[in-house]
Symmetry: C2
C-alpha cells in the first residue's frame, strides 16, 4: 500500500469548489457553476456530480428544503487548511512542521510578511 487511505482530504476538483463556497457563502449548483465558469470551462452536471460526491463524503452540507439545493462547506477554511498542511508535513517534510515553515520562507518574502510572522511568533511565545 503505497497510497495513504487514512484521511479524507479533498481532491483537486473538490478543493476548487470549496474555495468558491468559502468565498461566496452557501450557494446553489447554478451559482457555483457560474462562478467556476469564470475561470474554468466545465459542465453544469459535472459540478453537480462533484457536489453530490462531496455530500456523500460529508465535505459539504446541503439544505434540501427548496428545489435548488443550497450547498455549504462542512468545515471552515482554517480547519481544512490545517488538515492539508498536516498532510503535507507528514508526506514531504518528515513530520517536521518547522522544516516546512522554513522552506516556505525565502527571499521572495516581503518585509511586511516578515513583520507579520514576527508578531505571531511573539504571541505564540506569550501563551506557552
Amino acid at each position: 500500500m503505497l497510497r495513504d487511505k487514512s484521511d479524507i482530504k479533498p481532491t483537486e476538483a473538490e478543493l476548487t469548489l470549496l474555495n468558491i463556497l468559502w468565498k461566496m457563502g452557501p450557494a446553489t449548483v447554478r451559482q457555483i457553476h457560474e462562478n467556476v465558469s469564470q475561470t474554468q470551462q466545465t459542465g453544469y452536471t459535472t459540478v453537480l456530480k462533484i457536489l453530490q460526491i462531496m455530500h456523500e463524503k460529508a465535505l459539504v452540507i446541503r439544505d434540501e428544503s427548496n428545489r435548488a439545493h443550497v450547498y455549504a462547506p462542512a468545515n471552515s477554511e482554517v480547519v481544512t487548511q490545517s488538515s492539508l498542511l498536516k498532510d503535507l508535513v507528514l508526506k514531504a517534510f518528515g513530520g517536521s512542521k518547522s522544516k516546512l515553515v522554513m522552506r516556505a520562507l525565502d527571499d521572495s518574502t516581503s518585509k511586511e510578511e516578515i513583520e507579520d510572522i514576527r508578531k505571531l511568533l511573539n504571541e505564540l511565545e506569550q501563551q506557552s
Copy 2:
C-alpha cells in the same frame, strides 16, 4: 477542467519512493523495496513499475549500466518541497505564502522552533 494538469507533481506513491531515495541515496529496486517493506506491505513489481513510470516522467534518473538499474531522484528534496509548497499555496491559500506560514504556526510550535524561525527571518531581512 476542474483538475490542474499544468505541473508534474509526484503522486503519493511516487513521493513515498522519493523520500526513500533522498534518505538512502541511489539504490536498486530491490533495495528500495526492502526499505519500503519495513513500513508498508507491497509487491516488488509494484515498486518496479512505479519507478519505471517515474523514469518516464523524469522524476528519477537511472543508471542502466548494470543489470540491476540504479535509481536516483531527478530533483533534490528541497526543490521538490518548494514545488509542493507552491502548489498548496496556490490551491488552498489563495496564493498567499505568508497565510500558509501563519496557519502552520500554532500553539504546538516549540520554543526552539520559534527561535529557529526568528533567526531565519533576521537573515532574510539582511539580504533585501
